[in-house]
């Protein structure tokens, strides 16, 4: 605990009590405990979901991947596959679970394909509610879905009917972050047009996607100025939906090894902000993990819980 005491900046100046050290105490316990986060990815086959996830977390979540042919896909219904990876960075441990939904949108008739997904999300809420109401609550595991990346195809003219139906059915259950996949099939102009189109359609249909929190009015002036500068260079809400490219191949560009896609006409660099929004997506995700969990707990879970209790209580 000497470390905690040393971090008391003003130590024994007159009038200093020391409870300003509380965030450090909380911090220390959290680092010891580690964090859990569940991310769901939804989108048609072949939109680059797995590649993107691997790129985001610098790992290989799908080592023995088997890609079924079209004939096999006919019989398939939507599966739910959860993979967990433990990531540690600068002493902070994150237990990340990625929930994949292979089969989504594959069937000729995709009428019911998001029912399975809704049931999975509800199932996690149900389980949490059950654990929370139980007797032994010391080690409740939070498997609730904190964020859902919804992959929009770059090949269409905007949202497809399935996209609209899915988002309308799920925006009250999970934080939806729309992502335009395989963005390297579009020119910059086409990208802008598609983004605008998607946003218009989202607003038209009353779909509530995840909104990043703005800086609060009660923050001090200096902080507000800092955020204003930051926002000028990176206003996350302006970039949604994120147009991304993923890759796990290292290519040599100007003597450096970077991740990208090699075409005859040039190299698309994953982490180049001028090529796509990958870095913005990743930054948004990691700097908002806390908020995503909070919104899941305070909004989506509480809604589920009160509906559930109302149903069975009376």
């Amino acid at each position: 605990c000497t470390q905690l005491l040393l971090s008391c900046q003003f130590s024994d100046s007159a009038g200093y009590v020391g409870f300003a050290n509380l965030p450090n105490q909380v911090h220390r316990k959290s680092v010891k405990k580690g964090f859990e986060f569940t991310l769901m990815v939804v989108g048609e086959s072949g939109l680059g979901k797995s590649t993107l996830i691997n790129s985001l977390f610098l790992t290989d979540l799908y080592p023995e991947r088997y890609i079924p042919g079209a004939a096999e896909k006919i019989e398939r219904t939507v599966q739910i596959e959860a993979s967990t990876v433990e990531i540690e960075e600068r002493g902070v441990k994150l237990r990340l679970t990625v929930v994949d939904t292979p089969g989504y949108g594959d069937a000729i008739n995709s009428q019911d394909c998001f029912k399975t997904i809704i049931q999975y999300i509800d199932n996690q809420f149900e389980r949490y509610l059950h654990d929370e109401s139980g007797l032994n609550r010391r080690h409740i595991i939070d498997n609730r879905v904190h964020c859902c990346f919804y992959f929009i195809s770059p090949f269409g003219h905007g949202l497809k009917p399935l996209d609209v139906e899915f988002m309308k059915a799920l925006h009250g259950k999970v934080n939806i972050v729309p992502v335009i996949a395989k963005a390297d099939t579009l020119t910059l102009k086409e990208r802008e047009r598609l983004k605008r189109r998607v946003l218009d359609e989202i607003s038209e249909h009353g779909i509530r996607i995840y909104q990043l929190p703005d800086a609060d009015s009660d923050e001090d002036e200096e902080f507000k100025e800092q955020t204003r500068v930051l926002k000028a260079s990176f206003t996350p809400n302006l970039f949604i939906p994120f147009a991304v490219i993923g890759s796990n191949q290292l290519i040599e560009v100007k003597g450096k090894k970077i991740r990208g896609r090699l075409y005859p006409w040039g190299v698309v660099e994953v982490e180049n902000p001028e090529h796509n929004d990958f870095l913005k997506l990743r930054t948004m995700l990691v700097t908002h993990m806390q908020d995503l969990q909070e919104v899941t707990q305070d909004l989506h879970y509480e809604n589920f819980r009160s509906e559930r209790l109302k149903r069975t209580g009376k």
């Binding site: 605990c1 105490q25 909380v26 964090f35 610098l58 149900e126 290292l250």
Partner: protein, 350 residues
Amino acid sequence: PHAGPVESKNEAAMSELVPEPRQKPVVPMKPMGINANLLGYIGIDTIIEQMRKKTMKTGFDFNIMVVGQSGLGKSTLVNTLFKSQVSRKSSSWNREEKIPKTVEIKAIGHVIEEGGVKMKLTVIDTPGFGDQINNENCWEPIEKYINEQYEKFLKEEVNIARKKRIPDTRVHCCLYFISPTGHSLRPLDLEFMKHLSKVVNIIPVIAKADTMTLEEKTEFKQRVRKELEVNGIEFYPQKEFDEDLEDKTENDKIRQESMPFAVVGSDKEYQVNGKRVLGRKTPWGIIEVENLTHCEFALLRDFVIRTHLQDLKEVTHNIHYETYRAKRLNDNGGLPPMTAETEENHESNL
């Protein structure tokens, strides 16, 4: 203890939903290629900063109770701990106000701020404790108060539409003041701590420690520690809640050497060696409250506020409150708002 028919019904309901999703085994992070480390900073550690910002913004509650006979310096000590007038000293009561006939519970809240962190501090005083001729069961109103706060929290937690942040009035810490007789604990001390250590974190302190010499202090502390141990009284930090070896080593030292803290409180300042210090002025010298060679106030302060504040709250929430809740779940077969229901209907929230 297990909840009987309730549990199995829930399991059945759940199996009607989606069959278990395929859970692949957990894989440790595998770097992509040799140079992955150079390419690879994700930014997961910023979550700590996010949490810190959140704590700063929301502020937090801390509820501290003081128990002990009149005149042991409880209010002065609390004021010294928080460097503000958060507790009204009974010496400032006018002569018409008598010692209360029964134990009263007086809770006063203050909002204090430091380094951008806001704390809503509530000091719960217990005037009348141990002051009567017959002090039998005088801890009962205190135990009742503590349980009432657990009940309040529980009611809010099981509510259908519940608040985002449930107001926390539960007692996180109870400072028990031992009179510096130099002999041993009194029967009342033992009785109180025996009953209450099961429902709240008790931190015993030896009050007005400036009435003892260093040797007397050391002997008294040893005797008190022995008595507490012999009587099976688990004061905070409780041995059974040490989370890991690091905690255990640290807490063992505190339990076996430092506690109970022998303290002196004061809200008066004097000039000593060119510095302003809190102290008590006597003809034979100035007792400096924050001087570790004079008394252990600084140890108590660092312990309660600077290092174990969060842990006090967590033990209250994860252990004492859960114990209360489990008892409530098992007794009476129900919790509000569904106490009238029969067992079969106890699905969701029980």
